[in-house]
């Protein structure tokens, strides 16, 4: 990294942290600290919601995903706008009427204390682990590419977030997220402009999109139905809707964003703003990935994008084999470059036969290149068994580091840091508010003054932040940790969603029934995890459906006796 990059990176991050601390200084009560005095306007809420969802991995992985798989991932978000409308109509008015600080507080007025505490604990376990991964995932990629110390990178991200989140609470999270979103979108648009500008002079923007289309990357929408296809219109409209409802309706890291709104209208508008802009935003990020793909049709890509992992092979007995693969890769690239220029020329003639012939030639060489790439991955796995052989997360950052000029590299690194900080800040803020409001204030120290709870909120924010850094630091010592965290998340998420679905939509089921149903559902999910081969993503559905079914049966058996006192 050059001096200018350091100035841009540290200047951007320093400004955001200082502005967040200065702008939100002097929170004097828990209302201001946890709900931002209910003063936030809809555009702040909307940007804050988008920034919370967009983690660093969004900006590192999504362009790489488009590079490998094209645009079709955007369909995953098709259910999101519908979820925003449903939550605006049903969830927001109820939360506002009850003046809750957290989503779980609502469960006590609908059911009882034990159900509220159970949901809060499940959230704390799940989100507490996820906060560490939100820091660790970009840190491991940045430290690999830039040669930075992993622990120092973890600590840099974590400490910067702790400073302004502890200082200003919810308002600091939302205020800084406005700047972070500006950095993220500004940086990505500049990167998109640069990649198009770096295409050969003989290749126009239209040619680039046409080439991407002929190479199968402009596959935005697919209406065909296939259970095994993860991303199509139908999976987006059903699975995407289901996930968006649970994430935005029950996860405190998102609920806190719109609970800080000035009114029901501001909160609704914030969510609808996300419903309008989320899909175009994902489209732009994916499209930048597709343009990086086209760029690499005219400029030789690395054989393996995580070059540090590849270089380690050269220190082993497998070095000659890797060298031979690199040579094959170069030969194939030279052939392909000629073929792609031929495809561009054919596209300009509008001659279908010529286009089909050129397309077939490019496809043949692409398939051969894939074989070489797969051989290289297999060789890396053989030579260094601990190495990660998936390199799509490194595609975009590798392009940024190699081709962007001084200053812009710093800006794009600021994008990744901003994304990591914005989602971590929301998580720490949500963990602290749930710990204080749903556990500490409700069940541990009930009769303390406002100042005591404000101080407790700050202490818990710092404690969760420290835990996240420690977790991120030791994450690399455990095998398959990210998958382990995803499994733990899926074990709890379905049950939490089931409890909330009953709370909002099934008035017949009361407190005792839903609590027992939630425990039984959790037991079913744990049984599936330990004694069956069911893929862990299905645990979300199983847990949710189990709460609904068991709840209805138990309520039917219990009859009137099962009604909780709150009713």
């Amino acid at each position: 990294m050059r001096l200018l990059d350091w100035i841009v990176l540290l200047g951007t991050l320093g400004f955001i942290v200082s502005y967040g601390v200065w702008k939100t200084r002097g929170s004097k009560d828990i209302e201001g600290y946890l709900k931002g005095d209910n003063s936030m306007k809809w555009w702040t809420i909307g940007l804050s919601i988008m920034a919370t969802q967009a983690s660093a991995i969004t900006f590192l992985s999504t362009p790489g995903q488009a590079y490998e798989d094209g645009m079709r991932f955007v369909q995953f978000y098709f259910g999101l706008p519908i979820a925003m409308v449903i939550i605006s109509i049903t969830v927001i008015p109820i939360f506002y009427r009850l003046k809750v600080y957290t989503a779980y507080e609502f469960l006590e007025s609908r059911f009882d204390l034990k159900t509220r505490s159970l949901a809060a604990l499940l959230f704390l376990i799940q989100r507490g682990l996820a906060a560490g991964i939100t820091i660790y995932a970009p840190a491991i990629i940045l430290s690999t590419i830039l040669g930075w110390n992993l622990t120092a990178t973890n600590m840099l991200i974590g400490i910067l977030v702790i400073i302004y989140t502890v200082s200003g609470g919810t308002k600091a999270v939302s205020v800084t997220q406005k700047q972070q979103m500006a950095v993220m979108m500004g940086g990505m648009l500049v990167a998109g402009f640069m990649v198009v500008r770096y295409l050969p002079e003989s290749v126009s923007f239209g040619d680039a999109v046409a080439v991407a289309g002929k190479m199968g990357k402009m596959n935005v929408v697919d209406f065909s139905f296939d259970w095994n296809d993860r991303y199509n219109f139908w999976s987006g409209m059903t699975g995407g809707l289901f996930l968006a409802l649970s994430y935005f309706g029950t996860d405190q890291s998102q609920v806190a964003r719109y609970l800080g709104g000035k009114s029901v209208a501001e909160s609704r508008l914030g969510l609808l703003f996300n419903g309008l802009l989320k899909i175009p935003m994902q489209f732009i990020i994916l499209f930048i990935g597709v343009m990086v793909f086209v760029f690499y049709q005219f400029n030789q890509p690395p054989l393996f994008f995580n070059e540090s992992a590849k270089d380690k092979v050269y220190a082993t007995e497998f070095a000659p084999e890797m060298e031979a693969l690199e040579e094959q890769h170069t030969v194939l690239f030279n052939q392909k470059q000629e073929a792609v220029h031929g495809l561009v020329a054919a596209l300009r003639t509008d001659d279908e036969t010529a286009i089909a012939a050129a397309q077939a030639e490019v496809q043949g060489i692409t398939d051969a290149s894939k074989v070489v790439r797969n051989d290289a991955k297999a060789l890396i796995a053989k030579a260094t068994p601990d190495a990660e052989t998936k390199d799509t997360d490194y595609v975009f950052i590798s392009f940024v580091m190699k081709y962007l000029p001084a200053g812009l590299v710093g800006l794009l690194l600021a994008v990744i840091f901003s994304a990591a900080m914005s989602s971590t800040a929301s998580e720490l803020n949500a963990l602290a508010s749930t710990t204080v409001v749903d556990i500490y204030k409700r069940s541990v120290k009930k009769d303390k003054d406002n100042f005591h709870y404000l101080r407790a909120s700050r202490v818990f924010t710092a404690a969760w932040g420290t835990l996240a850094i420690i977790f991120a630091t030791y994450a690399s010592l455990l095998d398959n940790l990210i998958q382990a965290v995803n499994i733990i998340g899926s074990i709890f998420y379905g049950t939490i969603l089931g409890i909330f679905l009953v709370a909002f939509y099934v008035k017949y089921i009361k407190g005792h029934a839903v609590f027992i149903a939630a425990l039984m559902a959790e037991a079913v999910v744990l049984y599936c995890h330990f004694y069956t081969d069911i893929a862990f993503l299905w645990f979300n559905v199983i847990g949710c459906v189990a709460v609904l079914v068991f709840g209805a049966i138990i309520q039917f058996v219990m009859g009137e006796k099962g009604e909780n006192l709150a009713d």
């Binding site: 519908i82 925003m84 605006s88 109509i89 029901v264 508008l269 419903g275 309008l276």
Partner: protein, 47 residues
């Protein structure tokens, strides 16, 4: 819940751009339909 189901105090929470929330919701859903149609056209043109 209908827009007319608002409790006292919520009548102040009218949308700033349209007469009713229903219109706002239709804007979001209409935008989704427009984007999917646009993406379908892009997919067809460049396939």
């Amino acid at each position: 819940m209908k827009d007319t189901d608002n409790k006292p105090g919520e009548e102040l929470d009218k949308p700033p751009f349209f007469k009713s929330w229903k219109s706002m919701y239709w804007l979001v859903l209409g935008n989704l339909a427009f984007l999917i149609s646009l993406f379908y056209i892009i997919t067809r043109i460049y396939s």
